[in-house]
Amino acid sequence: SQQGEEDPQALSIQEGENATMNCSYKTSINNLQWYRQNSGRGLVHLILIRSNEREKHSGRLRVTLDTSKKSSSLLITASRAADTASYFCAPSRNAGNNRKLIWGLGTSLAVNP
């Protein structure tokens, strides 16, 4: 199975600062997704990056992927209190089956006003 491991486990920053979270995985992948989970609620998809992509942007989010290091990072710029949540990466080896998404423990981000 393919599991992403997020680092750090917890991160606390002030509003307006940037937040960087990292994800490492062990085997080759087809794509990697990032999700956000507000406390005790469902997950929300943030961004998907394919193995042939190195960087992707979506609003204040920037995701990078380094397949040689088997790692990805999620950068949230100009953070807001509403960004407080847990963030999960989900690497996938299979292009055709989301069943193979294995979830790590996530990074718990606290943005202090």
């Binding site: 999700y35 469902g42 998907l48 999960f88 292009a95 790590g104």
Partner: protein
């Protein structure tokens, strides 16, 4: 995109009873999944709900404990049977969008079960 409604959102249950969680998607989706998230833990896939046939269970999960139905492309139920305190968890329904299997997963808001 797809909007997923799950109910109940939370419940407190007695040991030995069973509870059925419903999941309704506002559009036809290709695949639906049920996850469990125990306190402080990540998501664990329970099973893939197959339309019109038996669900596909992951290792460690069995049909007798977690019977699942999916009568059509937009609706599924998960029953947690003969509950014990160890079943206290958030149960999440998710689905792939109509864009294909590599697309994003959509999630319901979760059902938080507490078993006394």
């Amino acid at each position: 995109s797809a909007v997923i409604s799950q109910k109940p959102s939370r419940d407190i249950c007695q040991r030995g009873t069973s509870l059925t969680i419903q999941c309704q998607v506002d559009s036809q989706v290709t695949m639906m999944f049920w996850y469990r998230q125990q306190p402080g833990q990540s998501l664990t896939l329970i099973a893939t709900a197959n339309q019109g046939s038996e669900a596909t269970y992951e290792s460690g999960f069995v049909i007798d404990k977690f019977p699942i139905s999916r009568p059509n492309l937009t609706f599924s139920t998960l029953t947690v049977s003969n509950m014990s305190p160890e079943d206290s968890s958030i149960y999440l329904c998710s689905a792939t969008g109509t864009g294909g299997h590599t697309g994003e997963l959509f999630f319901g808001e979760g059902s938080r079960l507490t078993v006394l």
